[in-house]
């Protein structure tokens, strides 16, 4: 197989992976939350153990 064809196949595979990710992402978001899980929050003690400042939950806490 020539290099060009391999490259095209690889790009198609990567785009397909991106497509699968987007489909699963949308499906996850659209699945309704189970009862009693509407207001789940990050646990302060749990988050204190983690040094990741880029985490979405850490940023939410900072905004408050």
């Amino acid at each position: 197989m020539s290099k060009e064809i391999s490259l095209v196949i690889a790009i198609v595979v990567l785009v397909a992976l991106l497509g699968i990710f987007l489909i699963t992402f949308v499906a996850y978001r659209k699945t309704p939350l189970p009862k009693g899980c509407e207001n789940l929050k990050a646990d302060d003690e749990k988050c204190a153990a983690c040094s990741n400042t880029e985490c979405a939950f850490a940023k939410k806490e900072e905004e408050k």
Partner: protein, 199 residues
């Protein structure tokens, strides 16, 4: 027979001797974050086992049969992250739909399996070390079962620590971290376990 023995030894080695949490220090966030209850740590451990093994089954052929022949092996991390994120969304979707109690206990920490460096670390190390497909699966199984074993053991210890009479300054995370250090020291004692075995 030798293949079977080396497969089992590779699993035990990556499970205990080269443990992903206590020797390589990957996946510390869920190790500390989801280890207060045995049920939630078991759920998180099983989810991570599923994600690591499935990610290895997909990432190894993807690297060796698609990325390397195309000359874009440098795109491996991007491809692995897409694979891992998709698997985690699928696992999350199933837990959300069919196990509300597990969803409640794992809660917001479920999508964080995507950023669990143990998952990406296994996929990356399989290809970086040039392991065969069988050895990659052994490595994935050993690493993920090692993660499950350690997180469940640690949660059992933490449950007992909650009711124990620890000094005020050590309550909570400090004593938990001391226990984790002692567990790591215990695993160091297993090094050289298979050094005498000739295959």
């Amino acid at each position: 027979m030798n293949i079977f023995i080396s497969f089992v030894l590779a699993i035990i080695s990556s499970m205990l001797i080269d443990n992903v949490v206590l020797s390589r220090f990957y996946g510390i966030c869920p190790f500390l974050g989801v280890s207060r209850k045995v049920n939630s740590s078991l759920g998180m451990g099983i989810a991570v086992v599923f994600v690591i093994i499935l990610a290895t089954l997909i990432c190894w052929p993807l690297y060796n049969y698609v990325l390397v022949p195309a000359g874009i092996a440098f795109m491996d991390t991007v491809a692995y992250i897409l694979v891992i994120a998709s698997i985690v969304q699928l696992v999350g979707l199933f837990i959300k739909k069919y196990s509300p109690s597990l969803y409640k206990s794992l809660g917001i920490y479920l999508p964080l399996i995507t950023t669990n460096c143990a998952v990406l670390g296994v996929a990356q190390s399989n290809t970086d070390q040039g392991l065969t497909f069988l050895n990659s699966i052994a490595n994935a199984m050993g690493t993920s079962i090692g993660f499950l074993l350690i997180i469940v053991t640690f949660s059992c210890i933490r449950v007992r620590l909650e009711s124990s009479n620890t000094p005020k300054a050590f309550k909570g995370l400090p004593i938990a971290l001391i226990c984790a250090a002692l567990m790591a020291i215990a695993l160091v004692g297993l090094q050289g376990l298979f050094s005498g075995i000739k295959l």
